[in-house]
Subunit: 255 residues, 2 copies
């Protein structure tokens, strides 16, 4: 068996600092193929491109790494990579990120980074998404790349099932200040939105989304809690959205 085949993607585009740092850190661990969006796709959720064709073009990226930019969404990148580049065979792992900004708690449902990882998992490819708790485009990716390397090394050495799908978030601080990693649950937190109403020169209203993140969850086994205490959070995720615990009560409504 040769080196593990690792597909790397993201949602901030192939030009983002996070994906370069991620690829450099993972190069010793396997044969990397990069397929990432040509343009930033933040907030795209689990979008797929149905009504227009997708383009994919080989580009220069990092010496020794095969890389493609794709006109589609993060989920498109994974689908197209599997179908065209891997000729419908699965790579050994898909890694998405390093995202510029948190995908902890409710952010997972809006996240292009995690939608790429989820699409891989749907295809049966073990997948991990990494996000750094800084929206700064020029954020220092040193510590997070280092952590990505050590976590992916452990994952490749472990005997993982096909269902591996992890949402990893990393506090923005020097490596020596990070206290460790914690496997936890998604916190019950959400964005409390406001829209700023403006008027264009023609007198028509338009709205800018503004939001404030509020954590309603005081449990200690959540991603938000451990992140705010200096730990890396790892939340195992699934794409079966059934609320099994509700089935009994819901049945009563329709009996």
């Amino acid at each position: 068996m040769g080196k593990p085949k690792i597909l790397v993607t993201n949602d901030d585009s192939i030009h983002a600092g996070g994906i370069k740092a991620l690829v450099k850190s993972l190069m010793p661990l396997g044969k990397i193929t990069v397929v990432a969006p040509k343009l930033p796709q933040s907030g795209m959720g689990h979008a797929i491109t149905l009504n227009r064709p997708i383009r994919m073009k080989k580009v220069d990226f990092i010496e020794g790494v095969e890389a493609y930019e794709c006109s589609g969404t993060p989920a498109d990148c994974v689908k197209l990579a599997k179908s065209v580049l891997f000729k419908k065979k699965n790579p050994d792992l898909c890694v998405s990120g390093i995202n510029h900004g948190s995908n902890a708690s409710i952010n997972v449902v809006y996240s292009g980074t995690m939608s790429a990882a989820m699409e891989a998992a749907i295809e049966g490819i073990p997948a991990v998404g990494f996000s750094l708790l800084s929206w700064d485009e020029a954020a220092d990716m040193n510590a997070s790349a280092n952590i990505a390397y050590s976590l992916i090394k452990k994952i490749l050495n472990a005997d993982n099932g096909k269902n591996l799908l992890l949402n990893v978030n990393i506090p923005y601080m020097p490596l020596e200040d990070i206290k460790g990693v914690k496997v936890v649950r998604q916190a019950d937190a959400k964005w409390v939105e406001e829209y700023e109403e403006r008027e264009d020169p023609m007198g028509n209203k338009y709205y800018w989304l503004k939001g404030q993140f509020v954590n309603f969850d005081d449990r200690q086994d959540t991603d938000e809690f451990v992140l705010s205490n200096g730990y890396v959070s790892i939340v195992p995720i699934k794409f079966d959205l059934t609320a099994f615990e509700e089935i009994k009560d819901i049945k009563k409504i329709f009996d």
Copy 2:
């Protein structure tokens, strides 16, 4: 207490047949406000618009119904409606649909219809998404509108928690052939994709997504099973994606 306030949205756009049929059927049950995308948003997943302003414009729709078209995604419609039209108070219910095409099983993760419903649920608004198993834009919405009416009537009469979030799919057949409704789980099914490679006049490759839906699930308590047997499927959904059952094993990898 007055009539229930019902927010109606969809992802096929305000011009689709499904939302018109839905609104007409629900009018006897409450005060309807429609906020729906100006343009079709299928396959948009849980996208939200961050990097450009959103426009919302009052439009003629159905006599007696306040309706707005919105330049954003289905999730944007819900956020903006709550924030601007309902002045941050929650309506009593959000209903999304009737989607032209199935959102059963794995389709839920790509679905704009269900992302609108999920966004409402995140806001604490009970929410239901309806989808008809026909992609035909001119599909007969009679039976499905009838079913939407009777299910929403039951939901409004029930003492629902804030967590109500239902993915309802309806087989495409005359009302008298539909055998009933079943509260079930999401089937383990997926799209097996192919991309058709073409070349543009300049000699550059591009790809069209094609897919075939495959159900790997032989359990009888799934949406796919009951739909194929002539029942309406109701799957309670949640937005906490934590795979609790995996936490123990995942911890072992990183110990």
